[in-house]
């Protein structure tokens, strides 16, 4: 199954106007400066926000079509969504969180082993580290047997070493998954490491020169100036 997207919406500071697609087994990494509309795009894919115009087609299923007034609610899209910051349920322990919408609870045990959080099952989210929480969030998303996985800066709040570890785990996981993955980040290293396909998003539009400009850093460029406010983007590790 693959996903084809075209979206338009007037946002506060710019107009979102973008179209792209992502094939199965593929990872598209959306990269660009913060506040460029990446999260909005992901939220539209998940059905949490409504585009003004456009179309989202998953396989032969139409999730959104402004002309035909189709808008499938998030509940029916059956996708996995790992949010930017921790959205595990605070009243449940890690295991209960992961089995919250699981198809088969036995799988959660395997996932917990895979992500090395098997010993933390009974802990509440606020009792474990940020990295462990995000691991659990990925387990929660995968246990639902999603048809597509959306990851919105899942590791951006973590320290560099944890982030690198999780990035590697995610890459090895990707090889085993058959669904499309859309990954959002503003970290170029992460993007280059993970992506099958890069999708630079600047002010709501695809800007293929952005990456080039970022790496060569032309200081006269207004966009580059904006990115300079971001945490330093390093290409060496």
């Amino acid at each position: 199954m693959s996903i084809a997207v075209s979206l338009k919406k007037k946002l506060k500071y710019f107009d979102l106007d973008i179209s792209f697609s992502c094939a199965k087994k593929n990872m598209v990494v959306m990269i660009g400066p913060s506040g460029g509309g990446k999260t909005t795009i992901i939220r539209m894919l998940a059905g949490l926000e409504k585009p003004k115009e456009g179309k989202i087609v998953f396989g032969d299923e139409v999730w959104f079509d402004s002309l035909r007034h189709v808008n499938v609610p998030p509940q029916k899209r059956r996708l996995g969504y790992v949010f930017q910051d921790y959205t595990l349920f605070p009243h449940l322990n890690l295991y209960e969180n992961a089995t919250f919408a699981a198809v088969d609870k036995k799988e959660v045990d395997e996932l917990f082993e895979l992500f090395k959080i098997g010993h933390l099952k009974k802990r509440r989210p606020q009792m474990v580290s940020g990295g462990e929480r995000q691991r659990c969030a990925i387990c929660q998303a995968l246990a639902r047997h999603p048809r597509i996985l959306l990851l919105d800066e899942p590791f951006s709040a973590l320290d560099a070493i944890t982030r690198r570890g999780l990035r590697e785990e995610l890459k090895s996981l990707k090889g085993r998954m058959s669904f499309p993955i859309i990954y959002v980040t503003h970290d170029i290293t992460e993007a280059l490491y993970l992506a099958d396909e890069l999708l630079p998003v600047v002010d709501g539009k695809i800007d293929n020169q952005w990456l080039q400009r970022m790496i060569t850093r032309e200081p006269s460029q207004e966009v580059a100036l904006r990115a300079a406010r971001e945490p330093r983007l390093t290409l060496v590790y």
């Binding site: 059905g47 949490l48 998030p74 509940q75 996995g80 969504y81 910051d85 349920f89 605070p90 919408a101």
Partner: protein, 219 residues
Amino acid sequence: MDFLALYVTLKLALITTVLLMVIAAPVAYALAYYRFAGKSFLEALIYLPMALPPTVIGFYLIIIMGPKGFVGKTWEMLTGGSLLFTFIGITVASIIYSIPFAVQPMKAAFAKIDRRLLESAYVLGLSRRAAFFRVIIPNSVNGIAAAAILVFLHSIGAFGVLLMVGGSIPGETKVASIAIYEAVEMMNYEVAGMIALSFIPISYAFLLLINKLNERTRI
């Protein structure tokens, strides 16, 4: 000591609390999560009993629940009896009198829940109703408990409304606060003092409980 009046008071407060929690939860949910035309007017209307003198509420309840009132007439048609001067009558009055104390803390507790938790639940396939029971309720237990305690204490203290709607029929509508008033009127200070004294530990214990709940919420 008028144990019967104390019993009626506690029974009334308990039934009011249970029923009001069930009635107020969806109202609080709607106020916390939906935007609709006339919402602020509706909200003010719901909180109105808090701002009105109890006798004013009592007066209007007599009009509505009396034999010529809409509710009273319907009740008589259904049951053949009067709604005024009955336990059911004062239960209705007590519920209306305490509505703001149930809705307000519950609405605050619901509104405090992180939207992203709900979005996460929707993405995981939960309907709005399922998310209400599996995410909102368990994450606002303290607010709900605080609402229940406030309602309970407020119903224990009701006087004017109940006197107007229910009168003072022993074992039926004569609650402890009315019993105290009547005992004092008859210069029977000993009886009044005993009932009054029994209120203090109950109310104090519940207030301590509210404080504990509030502390836990802050963490």
